[in-house]
Symmetry: C2
């Protein structure tokens, strides 16, 4: 048995015997304990701070004496005097083993520290970014053994950090020589660690020890908005978040109209490419001003987007995506340089685009898969990213299926007579009194219900302007519970429904929600046409999910995750009454927020996650709804509210839906006419 002192690291539990005098950092490295260092053990960076514990540790079978670590040496003492150290902390590279010792590695000293996520069911983000900082001491030039400054810098990276085959971009070659001399041959370099396409590359170089950090961008490039998170690549912190409208909107609200624009206008595709890249650059400027950082410190960027945006961003004409067989130009992940895409960040920042799953299921869906990890779920999870196009994933550790379904923009308030985007003044919550059949509601920006005192004051600045996407879902679901709209989707007459708010509006009935005309405001109603739009949208969504369940050969899912900003605002109960999502226990329907954005952030902060999602995407089974005969059947069934054939037993145990129907056989306005497949709308 070794007589050398025992070193026990927590929380890893790793342990080993080391000769007296061994620095803690050395011991940690030899044991594979995750202890950070940028300066390589020179007592400069303090990234290797550790907390020694003293006394009896029966759990570890060790007693730690007061002199188990070395006295403070001059380097350590100077660091403490100059910069300060938290009480009880030591520098792992300076403190040496003298006796048996228990060493705690605090989270901030771990390279692969975890970035905390709020949701228990979501995957952890472990820091492992593509670009890291390294402090090196470079050999000076020698006329007797001539070599380039870069070659000696490369040698230093190899000798001091075991980084092999590191190359440099041209701009580094152009700036490196004065920096090496300014730092007296001691420099800090940011190294992109490379991938299957590219060797590792020096991205940036600073004289001496660089106190700062480098940044990365996680960008969710949506049809409507572009959202970016600026992340510190050392801590993983989001230091700023910002968003803008996608400037391509002027070429078409939804994706299909943009594809049409490029088909109808020579150079239209290039025009849209320029627009989105310019918008992106404006966003990057905005976010770096907000964070007060130099844009040139942004060395890595990850993008997620749907296939049409993916192609338009890359400058690939989306023509083929507008027609069967919906062939993507490329589906694999892409590794590019910022200047390939005219992005004004670090001149040769690395750009990573997640893989696309299929012609209608993009890198955004891949990012959702990375964030929600259905492939790692033991129970069967349905992940729905609700947008103009819904991406749907169904899976567990056994397999994952994916499809997309053209829900159209109704869930975003478009094509609804009183619909609007989610903004102050928009109705977002609705209740219909079961007795009076009169609605009450709340608008975004106010906590007061419309039938409560102070409502008029609360909405004084915003007014009541329309109904947003989540509001229309609640509205239609409430109308269904209250017996104002029947299962096939027909609004009843005042006599049929007993509601004074129903009124004849042309050949069908509408439902009055709010009359602001007396005050110069709008009259907000739900028309039977609005109901039809919602029916079609939710039928598209449901039938996509149902098709995946068929393929999985299941009749029910264990849980449902609603992704997307919109998903965060949907009431699970109302969504289920509407028949948007399959029957499931309400507490098993959760919101993942902007899962695509989170997936982008994971890929940014953890380079291994990139390879992982690439493998996952390859393994995902893609279903093209356009060519699945059963999709039509599911769509027709799902046009009814909630569904004309499926039982929804869990829902029925919570609510009892009226069975009355309003169709007196007179008109063509029954639920059936919406069953035909609509033009695929993507956006």
């Amino acid at each position: 048995m070794s007589t050398d002192p025992l070193v026990v690291f927590t929380p890893s539990g790793k342990r080993g015997h080391f000769p007296s005098g061994t620095p803690i950092l050395t011991a940690a490295r030899q044991l594979g304990v995750d202890l950070d260092s940028v300066c390589g053990g020179r007592g400069i960076c303090s990234k290797c701070q550790i907390t020694p514990s003293y006394g009896e540790f029966s759990k570890h079978g060790v007693t730690v004496e007061d002199d188990a670590l070395s006295e403070w040496n001059s380097v350590e003492q100077r660091y403490k005097d100059k910069r300060g150290l938290i009480d009880g902390r030591r520098l792992g590279c300076q403190a040496t083993v003298q006796g048996d010792i228990v060493i705690d590695v605090p989270p901030e000293s771990q390279v692969h520290k975890q970035v905390v996520r709020k949701r228990a069911e979501a995957r952890d983000i472990v820091m492992n970014p593509s670009t890291k900082l390294y402090y090196v001491e470079v050999q000076e030039p020698d006329m007797h053994d001539p070599s380039g400054d870069l070659e000696r810098l490369r040698m230093a990276l190899k000798d001091q950090w075991a980084l092999d085959n590191v190359h440099a971009d041209l701009h580094i070659l152009q700036s490196m020589q004065p920096v090496l001399r300014k730092g007296a041959w001691k420099v800090t370099v940011a190294v992109h660690l490379g991938d299957d396409e590219n060797a590792p590359r020096i991205m940036h170089i600073w004289p001496g020890y660089y106190e700062g950090t480098v940044y990365g961008l996680a960008v969710d490039l949506g049809s409507t908005t572009i959202a970016a998170h600026l992340c510190d690549l050392q801590t993983g912190d989001v230091v700023a978040s910002s968003g803008i409208m996608n400037p391509q909107i002027r070429f078409g609200e939804d994706l299909m109209s943009r594809v049409s624009y490029s088909m109808m206008n020579a150079g239209g595709s290039d025009e849209m490419t320029r627009a989105v890249r310019e918008g992106m650059n404006a966003l990057f400027t905005q976010i770096s001003i907000e964070a007060e950082i130099d844009k040139a410190l942004i060395v890595d960027a990850v993008f997620v987007c749907n296939p049409v945006m993916h192609h338009l961003f890359l400058g690939i004409d989306p023509f083929e995506l507008g027609q069967a067989p919906f062939a993507l130009g490329t589906s694999d992940a892409l590794r590019l340089r910022a200047d390939d895409l005219d992005l004004n960040i670090h001149p040769s920042a690395r750009v990573y685009l997640l893989p696309c799953i299929a012609g209608h299921v993009g890198a955004d869906a891949a990012a959702v898969a990375l964030s929600e990890a259905p492939d790692k779920s033991k129970d069967l999870v349905l992940v729905v990213d609700v947008g103009t196009n819904a991406e749907i994933l169904l899976g567990n550790t056994e397999k994952v299926l994916a499809c997309s379904s053209p829900t159209g923009p109704a869930f975003e308030g478009a094509q609804i007579s009183s619909g609007q985007r989610a903004a102050p003044g928009a109705i977002e919550r609705v209740e219909i009194d079961p007795a009076t059949k009169v609605p009450r509601f709340r608008v975004i920006g106010s906590e007061v219900w419309s039938d409560e005192d102070g409502f008029d004051e609360a909405i004084a600045t915003t007014g009541v302007t329309g109904i947003c996407g989540s509001g229309i879902i609640e509205m239609v679901a409430e109308m269904r519970i209250a017996g104002i709209v029947d299962a096939p989707g027909l609004i009843g007459s005042p006599e049929q429904t007993g509601s004074p708010n129903c009124f004849l509006d042309g050949r069908t009935y509408s439902y009055l929600v709010y009359d602001g005309t007396a005050k110069g405001g709008p009259k907000i109603t739900v028309t039977n046409r609005d109901i039809r739009e919602i029916q079609m949208a939710k039928a598209a969504l449901y039938s996509g999910a149902r098709l995946l369940m068929d393929k999985f050969e299941v009749e029910a899912v264990d849980r449902v995750v609603l992704a997307g900003a919109f998903g965060a605002h949907i009431s699970p109960k109302h969504a289920m009454i509407l028949g948007m999502i399959p029957d499931a226990p309400l507490d098993k329907v959760t919101s993942a927020g902007n899962a695509a954005g989170t997936g982008a952030r994971i890929a940014l902060l953890n380079r291994e996650a990139r390879g992982e999602i690439e493998a996952t995407v390859k393994a995902i089974h893609k279903i093209e709804t356009a060519i699945e005969p059963r999709f039509q059947e599911h769509f027709v069934n799902a046009s009814a509210i909630p569904n004309s054939v499926e039982p929804f037993p869990i829902l029925n145990s919570i609510v009892t839906l009226p069975t009355q129907t309003f169709n007196t056989g007179g008109g063509g306005a029954d639920g059936g006419d919406s069953g035909g497949r609509r033009r695929r709308r993507r956006g």
Copy 2:
């Protein structure tokens, strides 16, 4: 023993038994016989043409019957009818083995064909370019198994050509989809095969089978001129050669003045970088117009240059090269993209810069090493690239030493009173009559000697304008033989020399070569100051070579190779009389022409040669003359003509040099005053 027919390939001699019906191309591939194919055996490209031989072959122990190959099938017949085939040729992919057969692979059907070089001692160029063409048939998109067009193209390259991990530049992604459809999923792609820094990449894509070729540039970027060869990357042929003056000349004639310019002028380095890149682009436009090709078909370019040009071309301030320790920014070979250097060829053409050997010994010297291959020479060879700066290599298979020596521009006619660049009208050949001590000469552009009838007519258009570099070498050597200049370098008086052409010119004597003043032309003389300039230049060159001989511990070399355009015009005898080069048999002094340019061409045409020269350069032992004490001693000795201490026995067996000296002890104009080390001039 196999009863399958025997197939013998010539000239390789490879042989094997193959089942009846095996295509010849298949047999060749299985035996590793070098037989080309772009279309992959589809009878389209005809690159696999072979010549079957019939009859008795006792050498191979085989008798070939008339029916040893299959009948012409429809594909082969169609090809012959449409495009024609040389009599006796067959398509290797269509003709199949039926009996024992002898197959000759003609040179043009070999992938790794040899490019003929005129000189026996020079290394062969074997075709193995970085970028090759491949014809593939790509699987069509399938909605049931969605994947990107690029991914299916990659799969085709892998399945049909065993090319793995091939990526595509963005511009390919942007143009690929219509090309695939235009070619009905049959395309030809140009693939750059990658290197240690970059994965293989698709450079270009054409619908169907592409009949054309792709091109590469071998560029010799000199201080004074930029010369480029445009090469066909399939045949290796030089399809056009062109050159321009280096536009940087306006910032300084020689390199050191350009380095000074960058030190004295803010942004001066960038200005020179822009100038050389603009000049380069003008040259590339010129050469592609000359060759009548689209510049976008130039997919590869190799550059060789001295270290200062290397840095200025890359945009690295050459500041450090102007002072000890002469630290290069980078010495290793560089792999870049054309757009990194603002070069207007193929948008993402690959650029390769050969490695530099040391701060004064550049990629041009590396290219000379690649072309002349001293490391592969069994006898000890001295390779001298004579320019404003001389690069000197000495070596054999055992080891190679290198240094550079600042000869200054005297050998290019600069700093010589009647000196000029090599151009029509410049004196290039000189003889001095041993009896009369009067010179006769020939000028560039005329074959008539100045004392022959018709001389005046012959030079009517050019005149006699000055003396070029090779002319001044002959001149001084002839003066030395004729006893007009003595060993220390002093021109004698008419009395001392017996020449009426000697005349007092200030404190020293000059020698009249030609008096054109009567006809309004120049008076061409050689001053004693001119002799001093040549002494210093040749002493620098010789002492560099001698230093390498010291390091090699030899007193003589087996052969001398004079590289550089200038080297081609030097008379070996005169150079040896001058003491420019070490004593050697005259027939062992040869000219290699533009060896740097040839080296660039080798690196362009053979990708393996790149790795080879990189390894060679690493192994070359670099000698920095500035810090070698013996260099000064050699320089002083070599200031004499030919040398004050070295015996030159071979030279002395050919010529007898006068031993008279002209110094009467009066002045300081003896040979010794030039022995001090001059400011290092590079250019």
